[in-house]
């Protein structure tokens, strides 16, 4: 398929602007050559994007069991709410008395998220989970610095099963990362934790259920150990879908959390963003939250004084239209719907697992939470077919593959998370498809290793793409 830049014709344009109704003024210095943007008609533009859209695949188009991503159905009503002109046409620097709706929307969302998470306050500035992690870690840093222990407490404990953003965020926040080995059961090794937690510990980052889909039943002991050592506990909310409304991170002993609205709270992924990663915290960390914060006094909205804030983590208030989608979702689900979603996320995952475990070795036996991890190590040894090959075979069946090669502690991992918005029939079909793929892998490994056979492209040469990066289109005249 051609690129935009390979289409069009000199002089083609859309009819967008009117004539200038004032005298023309331009800067004294201008660019030496115009940007070589495509020159297209609206016909061509529309068809180009229709063709691209046919080569894209969203969760609203098909089953998407990506472990750790919580690809649940994105409700249509969210889009209605987020498109209201009263929200989209509002300038971020309007006086506060003209944006009472925005401030109330955030206040209401904060109230609901505090209730679900057992926290006392939320900031909506972070634009994504990783951004939230960085923000939450800065809260921890500010807390210790305030107590004169900022230099001393320079380490963050992170399980080796953690998502890469955890250690990366800790490094960005200026911390050294101490990797905690997981036990053979996939959970935090308590002895290793006791050894590691000490006077130089600023905190622990954990997700619960963890990245292998298990609820760490020692959670209260884990957070106690860290608190006793003087550290704080950070909750990575990526897996909240398993427990929202059923158990609160605040009650598990966590002091600060981030949420992924684009996972747990049904806002769309957009091909990689925009997300939203609000950060919640207990009272002890509230003074450090990013400013500005707002409060209503005598019926008037005003800025709250925040003398100890860590400052801004972005230009304005947050990915506001994304937060609105989450608010719509929260309003709809409410007190009963939130735990119902969590329970069914766990039910659906276990149901799928039960249908597969006689063929696909599960990394950890027994009941899982909202996701489970299969290991294709044995299949690889016996047939040479890898987790990657199985994933590519799923593409031929129109199912987005599960998450591959994560977490790192499981070899040839495939992590499956169906979510609560799938029907039993879809789960049954997916199980049948996966079983057929396994059988095919044993009978005809070569066929699997050449998958996908029916997708938009064959397997791309990633080695060449990284060795000799071509990161933009160049017109013919420029190509060497």
């Amino acid at each position: 398929m051609k690129l935009l830049m390979e289409k069009g014709y000199e002089g083609r344009a859309l009819s967008l602007l009117g004539p200038c109704d004032v005298p023309t003024v331009q800067p004294s210095k201008t660019r030496t050559a115009p940007p070589r943007l495509p020159q297209l008609s609206e016909t061509e533009l529309s068809r180009h994007y229709s063709a691209l859209a046919r080569r894209a695949h969203g969760v609203n188009d098909g089953f998407y069991p990506l472990g750790s991503c919580t690809m649940k159905y994105n409700p249509a009503v969210n889009e209605e709410a987020a498109s209201l002109k009263g929200f989209t046409a509002v300038h971020p620097l309007q006086p506060l008395h003209t944006v009472a709706g925005c401030l109330e929307a955030l206040e209401e969302t904060e109230k609901y998220l505090c209730a679900i998470n057992g926290m006392d306050a939320f900031t909506f500035q972070p634009a994504a989970g990783a951004h939230g992690e960085f923000t939450g870690l800065l809260l921890i840093k500010a807390y210790h610095t305030h107590r004169g222990e900022g230099e001393k407490r320079n380490k963050i404990l992170v399980p080796d099963s953690a998502h890469g953003t955890n250690p990366a965020s800790a490094a960005m926040a200026g911390y050294q990362v101490v990797n905690l080995p997981s036990g053979p059961d996939g959970c935090v090794d308590l002895e290793a934790l006791r050894q590691a937690a000490g006077e130089d510990t600023a905190g622990l980052m954990l997700t619960n259920p963890n990245t292998v889909g298990l609820f760490d039943k020692n959670i209260l002991e884990i957070t106690r150990i860290v608190h006793e050592a003087g550290g704080l506990c950070y909750y990575d909310g990526a897996n909240l879908n398993a427990v929202m409304g059923v158990a609160r991170p605040g009650d598990m002993g966590f002091d600060v959390v981030h949420l992924n609205l684009h996972k747990t709270f049904s806002t769309p992924h957009g091909g990689g963003g925009p997300g939203s990663g609000p950060v919640g915290c207990k009272k002890i960390l509230e003074p450090y939250l990013p400013a500005p914060r707002f409060e209503k006094k005598d019926g008037k909205w005003q800025e709250k004084p925040c003398p100890d804030t860590i400052g801004r983590v972005r230009g304005f208030q947050g990915n506001f239209l994304v937060v609105l989608r989450a608010l719509t979702y929260l309003l709809m689900l409410g007190r009963e719907g939130i735990p119902e979603a969590a329970r069914n996320a766990v039910l659906n995952a276990n149901y799928m697992k039960a249908g597969l475990e006689d063929l696909y070795p599960m990394a950890y036996p027994g009941l899982c939470m909202h996701e489970f991890v299969m290991s294709l190590e044995k299949l690889k040894e016996e047939t040479g077919v890898t987790a990657l090959d199985v994933a590519k075979a799923m593409l031929d069946e129109g199912i987005h593959p599960p998450t591959m090669y994560f977490p790192l502690i499981v070899h040839e991992a495939l992590m499956v998370e169906p979510t609560e918005t799938e029907t039993r029939e879809t789960l049954d079909e997916a199980v049948e498809t996966l079983r057929a793929i396994y059988k095919k892998a044993v009978e005809d490994p070569e066929y699997l290793k050449a998958c996908p056979h029916r997708a938009q492209i064959g397997r791309p040469d990633e080695v060449n793409a990284a060795r000799h990066p071509v990161l933009r289109y160049r017109p013919e005249e420029e190509k060497a």
Partner: protein, 125 residues
């Protein structure tokens, strides 16, 4: 797999070619085969100090990054710039595609002979 006998080897899969008080350092055949297609090499700069047992740089494949550990303490005298354009040379010719040359060596870790290194690989597996 190839293990030239005139070289010395580290447990972290680097090879060392000594020439007086200079050491030439690269990655072994075993290392390159484990890494798969190498796409990029992050090397230190000439004049940088390197320390025995610490990472002097790293090599990237499509899906992973591995540290390269220095078997000696010294100062980087030369860097194999050609590898920045053709990192695949490490896969094709691991003992010819040296990464760095280090001079003014003050410490060397205990290195293995070719036989000892092969034994080490066997026990690691």
């Amino acid at each position: 797999m190839n293990f030239p006998s005139e070289l010395q080897y580290s447990k972290s899969h680097e090879w060392v070619r000594r020439q007086g008080n200079t050491a030439e350092i690269g990655l072994t055949d075993y290392a390159q085969s484990e890494l798969g297609g190498i796409v990029f090499v992050n090397l230190p700069q000439v004049g940088d100090e390197v320390t025995m047992g610490e990472a002097l740089g790293d090599v990237e494949s499509v899906k992973s990054v591995s540290d390269v550990y220095s078997p000696v303490t010294g100062v980087v005298s030369e860097v194999n710039e050609a590898l920045l354009d053709t990192p695949e040379a490490i896969n094709q010719d691991p003992y010819g595609a040296w990464l760095v040359r280090v001079e003014r060596i003050s410490e060397t870790e205990e290195l293995l002979t070719a036989e000892e290194y092969q034994e080490h690989i066997r026990t690691e597996q």
